[in-house]
Amino acid sequence: MNIDHHSGLSFTEAGGPQIAIKEVTPTTVTFVLSNTDLSVANALRRVMIAEVPTIAIDLVDFELNTTVLADEFIAHRLGLIPIISHQAVHLNYRHECTCSPYCEECSVLFSLDVSCQSENAMSVYSTHLVSSSPAVQPYVDPANEKGVLIAKLRKGQQLHVKAIARKGTGKEHAKWAPCTGVAFEYDPHNKLRHTTYWHEEDARKEWPLSAKAVEEPAPRDDEPFDYKAKPERFYFTVESTGALPPTTIVTQALDVLMRKLAEVHRVLGGIAEAQGEPVVQPTYNL
């Protein structure tokens, strides 16, 4: 156990990169990543946004749509509904699967069959979606039990669709992105002088301090500029769409990163083997 003396946070392991988790809520996680390079930290951020796979509705068959909204309109809305994606790891990507157009290996079927009988307008929510797999359900925010509004129906209007949810990543379409925003920051006191505060008279007076400033000692006025210093501690806050718990997003992102490195390792290993050089076995296991 390694205790950071300034913040009092405990870090998991000495030596390599360390993560200290500060706060976890159902939708957010706040942690500090340290002992690593800026590029790694940023890579983690980027992977969390773009490469953690989730499930989202990708193909919609309209059997009946007498609502005022156009088919594409509803299809687009359905696509953006966050779907609980624990199962994503067990699904194939579309390009990995040989089926056509879809099969159980690569997709989850949702159906929506609503019609309005009442005089008042009826609202269709994501909770109206019926999943073919109990483990894959639309995410429902506890504060809003009805889920996401899809459409509103007047008396006599009907909507009957079959929606196929697939695995994908935020790279392809934002609907697969598991997080809404990733706050990322380091060096709250700008000791590294990576940026220049815009100010009229006094930057310190005019600029509000970052919330993360309490985490690090403020620089003394007479402190000399250390031009060799490197950023060390990276403050993350990951907010989830609900598709995955925020901690899972982080772990899966790390997993994705690792697999990418493993792939590089494997390919290089292959080349080394071909050239008759000794192959270094990975010290981790996936």
Binding site: L38, S39, A41, N42, R45, R46, I49, A50, F62, N65, V68, A70, D71, E72, F73, H76, L80, G170, K171, H173, A174, K175, A177, G181, V182, A183, F184, E185, H194, T195, T196, Y197, W198, E206, W207, P208, S210, A211, T237, E239
Partner: protein, 1198 residues
């Protein structure tokens, strides 16, 4: 009035959703905007809340409606009464009289049920029907020896303006409006002719019946009057010519006539009296006028008496073609007398008093015109300003329709008379002739005339030699503001080619009545204008009561005055609508009395009265077309509108009209405004050097005149379209003008009924948002309910280099989530016609190939031969598979002999034998689309009409055009992945990155403040205001930012998404309202390798629609020549264009050898093949056809 009891439920709740509702309570969300019911109200602060109250009854498009209502209810009846009687030249005992005329609400007839029902505008749009009501008249006429009265005879159909008194939408609640398929926010004020919405634009003209002094082309000073009455229109000029001779110019004289002769002809025989009438006792005037005075005696023959003058003038009268044909020439004296009475200065009445024509007012008028000319000469050429708005009149739909209707009615009457005469002439009538049939049978005449003019925009009124084109335009439904903007548009009659800047320039007198920003760029700049928010245009009103009132208030009648009385020191001439009433010795008291009476409601609120000290006149105007605006009356430095009044207006207890009735607010036209001192804010009010709140403001206030009026709200100087701009007062002015043009191209919500409309082309935004930074105008016109744009989070920084020249960087994730997504709807329609030979168009089945497979082209057709709703359509596929018969007219018998009735119709050929040819409607646009809806209906002629609406959903792509509300447009240069985008410390990623180079030269500070206010609004969870000359203050916005932990400057600490390092600079970051404009790459992209060629020249066709080539033009050619790239030049201009292997004869040098044989030389010897452009060969042949021989010398290449 019942005392106001506050309740939880504000009055009018639920009723109002639009200022365009006839519901007087209006939108309570506006009336209470930002206020709770119990909040204190101060008139100084909240007086702008009178604007919504005003807009409920007047302003914006209401002028169109008012003018149309006036036409339908008053002018039509006047026209009828003026032309009530039809006589017969054949039977003196016969007469026909029109008693009354009225227009019914539009109705349609349901043939199946056999009943008539209320026709709604939306049904008209869908069915390509005209929204028109029948015109009914009551007539009385002689049949044989009886007097017959008939009521309600149809004489035609009148197109009905939407929301006018005859429109079915009037008085409907928003809910009922929705039931009728209409949008409650739709402004109305336009017509629907055969399914297309047509607007009659407001026309700007020089005012009629007023003297205008100006310098003509030769530099001579001229006083001119365009007289206009219902009977006559003519222009009279008084010109101060060479050698000081004053002459009168008039169209009906063959030459300019000396003014003295005219005066003498009007009965002022004595030179002294003439001189007095013109010059009073002013020596200087007399000096200028004396040469003219001598003129009459030097004429040949000399003119001294009235009779001589009339005779002399009579000889100068132009002989019209008609009169010379008839050969009836009255004697010269009578003719001149007649002309002077009716045609010259036609608007000045010449009354018949005991059989004598009273020329006195007219002669004084002529004298005055001369005096005004001399005055200008004396002052060294100071003339009137014809661009002054007070000298303008705006003609509205009602007036234009009235002109047209009057002309049609008169021509129609002449037709009836002719028809009746021919019938009465017949001696052997079997039954008694009933004139009512002639009336009823010719009803198409008026209908067709009206429909034709409105749908073509050609206004031709022969009697007034009026020929105007482009009076009407198709209502632009690109966005809600574009439709609204069209309703407030003013088009000027000035020629666009003239190189004078005057009419185009912004005139100071346009303040408050014409929007200073909203005008197009380029050709029509300054000629097409828009009304400001609070402008009202008057309608004509009767002036006889005003005449009486003027005399009661002490005006001395012109008929009893001598010239000396007229121009006595301190006397002012009093005019009523351009006609001299007389003089008044205490003009100030007169004007004040008159105004007091107007404020008391004894005179119409739109009557204006003002004094000019330079000309010493008092003008009273009640004519139509004057622009005016309401202002708060100030009494002794105090605004008449109290806190309680504003409160009552907000609660809907008092309407705007009530405040006018109470004399607290009045309408001032531009002329009367020159007579006032208007304070902008309460604090500016000045009374004897004192501001209202006690303190002495500044010593200079003592010199200022006392305030007479107070502005209601400064932001109303702008129009409806410029009102969308937040903080326009911080922008460089042309930027506001650019936004006015671009706001009309923004894609958004068009109307609440947008999804049931089938328009030729409709752009809709998928997720439109109301702007974070709104303005009062936005709320007033309902733009927040039908917005056209989205609040985009903008980072002002440079990124990637794909953002130069105003290009924007878009976030891919934003685009994925629906930013800038829009739908494009296109209409495909066709008529299923029936033809005279009993044949019909038909809808055919899908065509199949030899194996019974449906061809792809017809793949998505339903069983009825029309595309199926919900199908996806590809380029080239058939939408409506119509087939038409090859023959449509009945066959004519071959020759005489074959049939007894030789040459007549042979009757119907068996329709079954007639073959059909395909005439399908195909989808020829790029990109996949979906069939949205199909409509099968019938039009007015009972022809079947098929309409299919095809929808395309588009997400933004590279090259799509966007703009903020500050005239800053740009195309999308690159779409970037979210993880690559820069982000703020909170993880916020921008939707748009805008290059900061857009700011320094454009100076759109308003955009920066919009961003700041928008950011503060987002953080505080409230909408901010950017109303012109007001709005949320920057300081307040900065304070909100600071309290939320942001920099007051709106700049954020931003990290690069690519490296993870913070950016060196701090980035201006926040929400700005962005509009997606209709110019999209998909509609414009075009490339061609090979393709169609024009038949005549064999050169590639031109234009994207014809898959044309990309032209190497003259300048491109110059470049290639300059580079010396001869082969490239040859390739582009010859081989890739219209290369032609031409055979030429080397011997004779002529083109046109064939297969190696020259037909001219009868030889094969010199024939060679030459590659020349086909156009060149064509030229040679055309020259030869004109007997010019082009000979070519051919030689081998060296």
């Amino acid at each position: 009035m019942p005392p106001y009891v506050p309740s939880d439920q504000p009055p009018g709740r639920g009723k109002g959703s639009s200022i365009f509702e006839m519901d007087t309570m209006g939108r309570d969300d506006l009336r209470y905007a930002g206020k709770k019911l119990t909040d204190p109200i101060s008139a100084a602060e909240d007086k702008w809340r009178l604007v919504p109250a005003f807009l409920q009854t007047k302003g914006l498009i209401k002028q169109h409606v008012d003018s149309f209502n006036y036409f339908i209810e008053t002018e039509m009846k006047q026209i009828l009464l003026a032309n009530a009687k039809v006589d017969s030249d054949v039977d003196p005992a016969f007469w026909l009289k029109f008693r009354d005329i009225r227009v019914k609400q539009p109705q349609a007839y349901d043939a199946r049920k056999g009943v008539a029902y209320e026709l709604t505008p939306h049904e008209c749009r869908l069915r390509d029907v005209t929204y028109a009501g029948t015109i009914l008249v009551d007539i009385e006429y002689v049949r044989g020896k009886q007097l017959v009265k008939k009521r309600g005879i149809e004489v035609g159909r009148m197109p009905i303006m939407l929301r006018s008194s005859r429109c079915c939408l009037t008085g409907k609640s928003p809910a009922d409006m929705v039931k009728a398929g209409e949008c409650p926010l739709d402004p109305g004020g336009y017509f629907i002719i055969r399914g297309t919405e047509k607007v009659i634009l407001i026309q700007e003209q020089l005012s009629k019946n007023r003297i205008i002094v100006e310098t003509d082309r030769l530099g001579l000073i001229n006083a001119s009057v365009t007289s206009s009455t219902h009977e006559k229109k003519s222009k009279t000029n008084i010109c101060y010519g060479k050698a000081g001779r004053v002459t009168m110019k008039h169209n009906s004289f063959t030459a300019d006539v000396p003014v003295v002769v005219v005066m003498k002809a009007m009965g002022i025989e004595s030179d002294r009296e003439i001189a007095e009438l013109i010059c009073g006792n002013d020596e200087k005037f007399l000096e200028l006028f004396s040469p003219s005075l001598e003129e009459s005696s030097m004429l040949d023959p000399p003119v001294y008496t009235q009779r001589q003058a009339l005779d002399w003038l009579g000889r100068k009268v132009k002989v019209t073609a008609m009169r010379s044909r008839i050969g009836m020439r009255k004697d010269y004296v009578e003719e001149a007398r007649d002309l002077l009475a009716t045609t010259v200065l036609a608007h000045v009445p010449v009354d018949d008093i005991n059989g004598q024509w009273n020329y006195r007012p007219k002669s004084v008028y002529v004298a005055l015109m001369v005096r005004r000319t001399l005055q200008a000469v004396k002052d060294g050429g100071i003339v009137d300003d014809r661009d002054f708005v007070g000298n303008k009149r705006l003609e509205l739909a009602g007036q234009l329709l009235s002109l047209l209707f009057e002309d049609l009615f008169k021509s129609w009457q002449a037709n009836i008379k002719r028809a009746i005469d021919t019938q009465l002439k017949r001696s052997n009538r079997t039954s008694q002739y009933d004139a009512a049939t002639a009336v009823a049978q010719t009803s198409r005449f008026i209908t067709d005339g009206l429909f034709r003019s409105i749908s073509s925009g050609n206004w031709n009124v022969k009697r007034f030699k009026m020929e105007r084109a482009g009076v009407t335009q198709v209502l632009s439904r690109l966005s809600y503001v574009s439709a609204l903007g069209m309703m407030t548009r003013i088009s000027s009659q000035f020629e666009k080619t003239r190189k004078v800047s005057g009419p185009r320039a912004l005139q100071t007198s346009q303040f408050g009545v014409i929007c200073p920003s909203d005008t197009p760029e380029g050709e029509a700049c300054g000629l097409i204008k828009n009304l400001a928010l609070m402008t009202h245009i008057t309608t004509d009103s009767d002036d006889s009561s005003m005449r009486r009132l003027a005399f009661i208030l002490g005006v001395e009648d012109i008929n009893v005055l001598t010239g000396l009385d007229l121009y006595e020191e301190g006397t002012y001439l009093v005019f009523l609508n351009g006609v001299i009433l007389g003089v008044h010795r205490k003009p100030e008291k007169f004007v004040n009395d008159f105004r007091a009476l107007r404020r008391a409601g004894r005179v119409g609120p739109f009557v204006s009265v003002y004094r000019t000290s330079t000309q010493r006149t008092v003008n009273i105007s009640s004519d139509g077309g004057r622009v005016c605006r309401p202002l708060i009356i100030v009494n002794k430095g105090k605004s008449m509108v109290t806190d309680q009044d504003v409160k009552d207006a907000i609660h809907g207890i008092k309407t705007f009209e009530d405040l006018i009735q109470e004399g607290k607010i009045e309408y001032l036209d531009v002329n009367e405004e020159t007579d006032t001192d208007i304070a902008m804010y309460d604090a500016d009010l000045n009374y004897n050097g004192k501001v209202p709140f006690g303190a002495i403001a500044d010593p200079s206030a003592l010199d200022r005149p006392n305030s007479t009026h107070l502005e209601i709200a400064p932001f109303t100087v702008l129009g409806a379209v410029a009102g969308l701009i937040p903080y326009p007062h911080h922008n460089q002015s042309p930027r506001n003008t650019y936004q006015c043009a671009m706001g009309k191209q923004a894609i958004g919500a068009i109307a609440y009924n947008q999804l049931t409309r089938i328009d030729t082309l409709l752009y809709l935004m998928v997720y439109p948002q109301q702007p974070m930074v709104r303005t009062r105008t936005i709320e007033l016109i309902g733009y927040d309910k039908l917005p056209a744009g989205q609040n985009a989070t903008v980072a002002v920084m440079s990124y990637s280099g794909y953002d130069i020249e105003d290009a924007l960087v878009l976030n891919k994730a934003s685009v994925d989530r629906g930013f800038g997504r829009c739908q494009v709807m296109r209409k495909f329609s066709t008529m299923i016609k029936s033809y005279p030979n009993q044949t019909y168009d038909r809808l055919a089945d899908r065509a199949e190939d030899a194996y019974g497979q449906v061809l792809e082209k017809y793949d998505i057709l339903d069983d009825d031969g029309i595309v199926a709703v919900g199908e996806r359509i590809k380029t080239g596929q058939v939408v409506i598979n119509k087939q038409s018969p090859t023959e449509t007219s009945p066959r004519v018998a071959p020759m005489a002999g074959a049939d007894d009735a030789g040459g007549q119709f042979m009757g119907a050929t068996d329709p079954a034998t007639i073959s059909y040819k395909a005439s399908p409607t195909t989808f020829k646009y790029d990109g996949d689309a979906v069939i949205d809806q199909v409509l099968l209906t019938t039009n007015e002629e009972d022809q079947t009409l098929v309409k299919a609406l095809i929808r395309q959903t588009r997400r933004p792509e590279l090259g799509d055009k966007f703009s903020s509300r500050h005239g800053q447009k740009g195309v999308c240069g690159i779409i970037v992945q979210q993880e690559d985008m820069p982000f703020a410390d909170t993880g916020v990623v921008p939707d748009i990155i805008m290059n900061p180079h857009g700011f320094p030269s454009r100076m759109t500070v308003g955009k920066m403040i919009e961003l700041l206010a928008g950011k503060a609004g987002v953080l505080a969870g409230q909408l901010q205001y950017g109303t012109a000359f007001g709005g949320s203050k920057v300081e307040d916005m900065s304070n909100i930012l600071i309290s939320n932990g942001f920099s007051y400057s709106g700049k954020d600490y931003v990290t690069s998404g690519i490296t993870g390092e913070p950016l060196q600079a701090y980035i201006f970051f926040g929400p700005v309202y962005y509009q997606k404009l209709k110019h999209m790459v998909l509609d414009k992209m075009h490339a061609r390798s090979r393709g169609p060629r024009a038949v005549l020249t064999r050169q590639p066709t031109e234009g994207r629609s014809r898959d044309g080539g990309l032209r190497v033009g003259e300048m491109e050619r110059d470049c290639l020549i300059g580079h010396g790239t001869a082969a490239l030049l040859m390739e582009r201009l010859l081989y890739a264009s219209d290369a032609y292997d031409c055979e030429m004869c080397g011997e004779c040098g002529l083109v046109g050898a064939w297969h190696g044989f020259c037909n001219y030389c009868k030889s094969r010897k010199g024939v060679v093949k030459v590659k020349i452009p086909y156009a060149c060969k064509l030229l040679f042949q055309e020259l030869m056809s004109m007997n010019v021989v082009p000979r070519v010398k051919v030689k081998d290449l060296e």
